[in-house]
Amino acid sequence: MPLGGYAPLPLRLGGSSTDGWVAPQHARVAADLVVLQRVMPFVTWTYSVAAGTVTVESYFSQEGNGANYIFDTATNLGVGQCDFLWNTMGFADDYGIIAAFAVQHAVAVPHVAGGSPVYIATVDLRDDGVRIDTQTTAGAAADPRVTVSLW
């Protein structure tokens, strides 16, 4: 059944490469979509700290991107330590269907501007988000720009 205005749902597979959608293609979409939803990060963001104030420079999440979807709390607790927390761990898809998200994995990678010093970031998973600790390789607390991903 071809696509378009004369081919309403439910969709019937078939047709040609220019006007339809055949079963093997649909099957590959189904298989690969399941694969992708297993491994895609829930959220990735980059932040920086200046004078004790956290700036989330970019925020990409499965719920949405940008300032409207950002954390409820992004706080610098002191040099080299920031919390990123949500008030609730339920998130909605584009249809308003809400499901809980529990942080199970996290990676944090500090950015380096023009060479030394080199920074180290570690993560501390929370029920409501994550804490990021950063320091130089010499062991001094520091606030580099950091990119973080959570699963």
Binding site: G5, T18, P24, A27, V29, V35, V107, T122
Partner: protein, 179 residues
Amino acid sequence: MTTPSGTPAWARANDHTTYGGDLNKENYMGIGIVDAQTDVGAEQLCRMAADMSAMIKVAPFAVITYLNRDTAVAAPLVESVMMQTGVTGASYEGDTPPAGFPTAAYVSAGISTFTFDASYSDAYSVAAAWTPSSAIATCHDIPGDMVNVSISGSVVTCEVVVGSTGNPDSNVRSTLVVW
């Protein structure tokens, strides 16, 4: 049984045509979507196909959080794995993984290896070879610790060290992401 077109996502070879896209795709008789609640248009299918192709190019193959058990001289405890081929429901002893999940081994203080299979199959039993190409890792809970990651064949080696000294650190939890 239908055999899906193309290859499993981790082969990273599928383009938009695998998923039903076509540069010349068009709506039947040139009639576009009449009712958005019942119709799927050619342009929407092409967007889906193009975005699927984009995502499979960059999606991680595996995300693993594990706990080294150096004091016990034991294989790491693999606490959670999210792989393109499956997700663990519970932690496992690194040296006795469930079928399809990587083996984790103790090497020496702070050093663990993760060994993957050479090939994996999708939900339709279509197999594709895979070897790790890139990996990053972050330590949990111990400020100043870091993970040096290296890859050889199907084995990813993670070395947890104290960043300021380079000395190995023991019994540390880390997250590893592999492409």
